[in-house]
């Protein structure tokens, strides 16, 4: 939920640029931690895998699968934006539309509160697919778009004076970096929690720690989108 607030400095030129950058990276890591501790993103699956096979190795295998799925989902959502950024003169409309899409998805999640139960029909052996589907269905990857666009802007990857090829390379590189940092934070947080429950806290923690984050999650999306939108509009004048 705080991701959005951290975006505030986006777009302030010059003196604030390095500070902005710091906040954006922080927001990126924070979003990873937030997704990681959310049981809906899969850490209890790693606990279950570890206990079913009576082996910590199975727990880590499951974590890898979850990380891979989440990474794929993030890349799938960020890469189209990376390609679009080549159209430098369109950068503001792109940012605008991206913000609106994120807000729109958040509002949709607020209105349609029914959980996609079909996710439970993915076989437990296909954790990569499951993690990918969950990240897409919940808009976890979408939440990163404003942060990504903010970082691109801060690094001036959207600058019109660069050659298209170089620009594309840079924006794709940034998308990969953003995804990797986010997933690293996510899998660290989720992995720590899974290991603590597996090794020390016990299974009671699974049901005790499980809060319904649906509304918070939806509001996070709306906030991230709204803050990005506000900055775009403000810096447009």
């Amino acid at each position: 939920m705080f991701d959005g607030l951290l975006l505030l400095p986006v777009g302030l030129d010059g003196m604030y640029a390095s500070q902005t950058l710091g906040w954006l990276w922080l927001a990126l890591v924070a979003s990873g931690l937030y997704h990681g501790v959310n049981p809906g993103m899969g850490w209890p699956l790693a606990v279950s895998a570890g206990l079913m096979d009576k082996s910590p190795r199975a727990l880590f295998r499951a974590l890898w699968a979850l990380a891979a799925g989440h990474l794929l989902a993030t890349l799938l959502v960020l890469l189209p934006f990376a390609f679009l950024l080549v159209l430098a003169q369109w950068q503001r409309p792109i940012q605008l539309v991206a913000s609106l899409v994120v807000i729109g998805f958040g509002v949709y999640r607020l209105i349609d509160r029914r959980h996609p139960r079909a996710l439970a029909r993915i076989p437990p052996t296909q954790l990569v697919l499951w993690s990918f589907a969950v990240a897409i269905a919940h808009g976890a990857a979408l939440m990163l778009v404003p942060i990504y666009l903010g970082l691109c802007q801060a690094f001036e990857l959207d600058a019109g004076h660069k050659a298209a090829g170089a620009l594309m390379k840079a924006s794709v590189g940034m998308a990969v970096l953003v995804s990797l940092v986010h997933v690293a934070a996510m899998v660290s947080a989720g992995g720590c929690l899974a290991w603590l429950v597996y090794r020390y806290l016990g299974l009671k923690f699974v049901s005790r720690s499980w809060f319904n984050l649906d509304v918070v999650w939806a509001i996070s999306l709306v906030l991230v989108g709204a803050v990005a939108l506000a900055f775009n509009l403000a810096s447009w004048r």
Binding site: M41, R114, R117, L119, P124, S207, W210, N212
Partner: protein, 466 residues
């Protein structure tokens, strides 16, 4: 939608056993001659309560002729499935299908079991239209919805197409449609259950509606035309992957009881009668190397009886078949309880070694020939039938009716509803509780029991006991 998982959801069977004991038992009442509407009785089972072992509330349905049989919860511990990723529903609604009418009642048990009321009624036409199935039977709460097995296919007598499983939404109770994508050789249905993390389902076979609705058909039984196979399914792919024939003489493979601990890839099934010798049997099934196997691991012999003590149906045999009509496995997977509805016995087997069940305890009550009274002196008509075990494994409850028309054939003197309870010894052994005996209103029979907060044939788990 709740903010926290329901406190009656437990990650593992062990946690379920440690939870507070049940205060209420829900029992289905049926009017065998269809003269009265069927009902749900709420029974006080809290020791020391002034209304202990009495009905404290009844929900009477607005229709007649439903024939209540089995029922279940809208949600249970399976909601903690990490694949569902969303445990925010309540164990709140009882789903009660009418086996004869195909009507489904949704009963709201909140805010208090003593105020339970009808929440929704799904008319038979909706079930027919959306699934092509009829005669809904067993209810299981899955992580992605409510699974309902049926005994009939389409058409008036339920023989137009095979019966199967359909899914309902666990919050709106909308009938979503058929579960099977590839049923393989399966044409009959009865019970089903699963192992969620190991991703398989097991289903069993009773008979098609013309073979049970108007009573047991002796010619069909002696011709081995009742069900005798187990089907194993890929749960998520919804595909029949293996069928095991127990042998045609093993007629009516009914209740399927997988181990609760999901690391244990085995379970049990009861066979009502062997047509070669009237014996009943317990079978153990297991998965090994990706293949399922099943073998007969316990038998219960028939008991000879003089002709005058037998109903016309059995007089030619001069013996009472045990008729194992229900089995139930304790939450720790240690004791298997076996109802011998014919001989009037509740057996307890120690199944710590699942392929070598050890007879550990027994009580006699009722029975075609024995007619053993309850220790409190009251008569117990028919024999032990639907059995339910408390989560902690210390109390075993059972009722006495099998199915309206079959009751009349095996117990022509009548089957007034009764529910009793036995206490389980620390290391096995069973003893009927003198103070627990529920009598039901005149004209009603009692069938399945469900316990407040879950029981041993409701909850399934995605984490092992550690």
């Amino acid at each position: 939608m709740t903010m926290r998982p329901d406190p009656t959801f437990h990650a593992s069977p062990k946690l379920a056993m440690e939870a507070p004991a049940e205060n209420f038992a829900y029992t289905l009442l049926l009017s065998p001659d269809f003269s009265k509407p069927d009902a749900l009785a709420v029974i006080d089972v809290k020791p020391g309560s002034p209304t202990y072992s009495q009905i404290v509330h009844t929900v009477t349905m607005p229709n007649k002729g439903d024939e209540f049989h089995h029922f279940g919860w809208n949600a249970c511990s399976s909601a903690l499935s990490p694949l569902a990723g969303h445990a925010f529903i309540e164990r709140r609604y009882l789903i009660i299908p009418g086996l004869r009418s195909s009507r489904i009642y949704i009963i709201d048990t909140k805010p208090d079991p003593t105020k339970a009321k009808i929440h929704k009624i799904i008319e038979p036409e909706e079930v027919f239209k959306k699934t092509g199935y009829s005669r809904p039977h067993t209810i299981h709460c899955g992580p992605d919805g409510i699974y309902v097995s049926t005994l009939g296919g389409g058409g008036k007598d339920g023989t137009n197409g095979p019966p199967g499983v359909f899914i309902m939404d666990c919050e709106t109770f909308e009938v979503l449609g058929r579960w099977e994508i590839d049923r393989g050789p399966q044409t009959l249905h009865y019970d089903f259950w699963w192992n969620l993390p190991r991703d398989y389902m097991v289903t069993s076979e009773w008979a098609l509606p013309p073979q049970f609705e108007n009573g047991i058909v002796p010619e069909d039984l002696l011709a081995n035309k009742y069900g005798h196979r187990l089907h194993f399914w890929d749960l998520r792919a919804r595909r029949n992957v293996q069928t095991i024939d127990l042998g045609a003489n093993h007629q009516m493979a009914l209740e399927v009881r997988p181990a609760h601990d999901p690391v244990r890839e085995y379970g049990f099934v009861g066979v009502v009668v062997d047509t070669t010798n009237l014996e009943a049997s317990i079978w153990t099934w297991w998965r090994d190397g990706g293949k399922f196997h099943a073998e007969k691991t316990a038998t219960i012999p028939p008991e000879p009886a003089p002709k005058e003590k037998l109903p016309p149906l059995l007089q030619g045999f001069g013996a009472v078949p045990p008729l194992v009509t229900d089995i139930d496995l304790s939450m720790d997977d240690r004791f298997l309880y076996v109802s011998c509805w014919g001989t009037g016995e509740m057996r307890q087997y120690d199944v710590s070694d699942p392929r070598k069940p050890q007879h550990a305890g027994s009580v006699h009550i009722g029975g075609i020939a024995r007619r053993t009274p309850h220790p409190n002196g009251k008569a117990f008509a028919a024999g032990p039938q639907m059995v339910e075990i408390s989560r902690d494994g210390k109390r075993v409850y059972w009722t006495n009716s099998l199915y309206s028309t079959w009751d009349d054939q095996f117990y022509p003197d009548g089957v007034p509803g009764a529910e009793v309870m036995a206490n389980v010894g620390r290391n096995g052994g069973l003893e009927l509780d003198k103070d627990y005996f529920v009598s039901f209103p005149d004209g009603y029979r009692a069938h399945q029991i469900r316990l407040e907060g879950g029981d041993c044939s409701t909850d399934s788990f995605c984490y092992p006991s550690v």
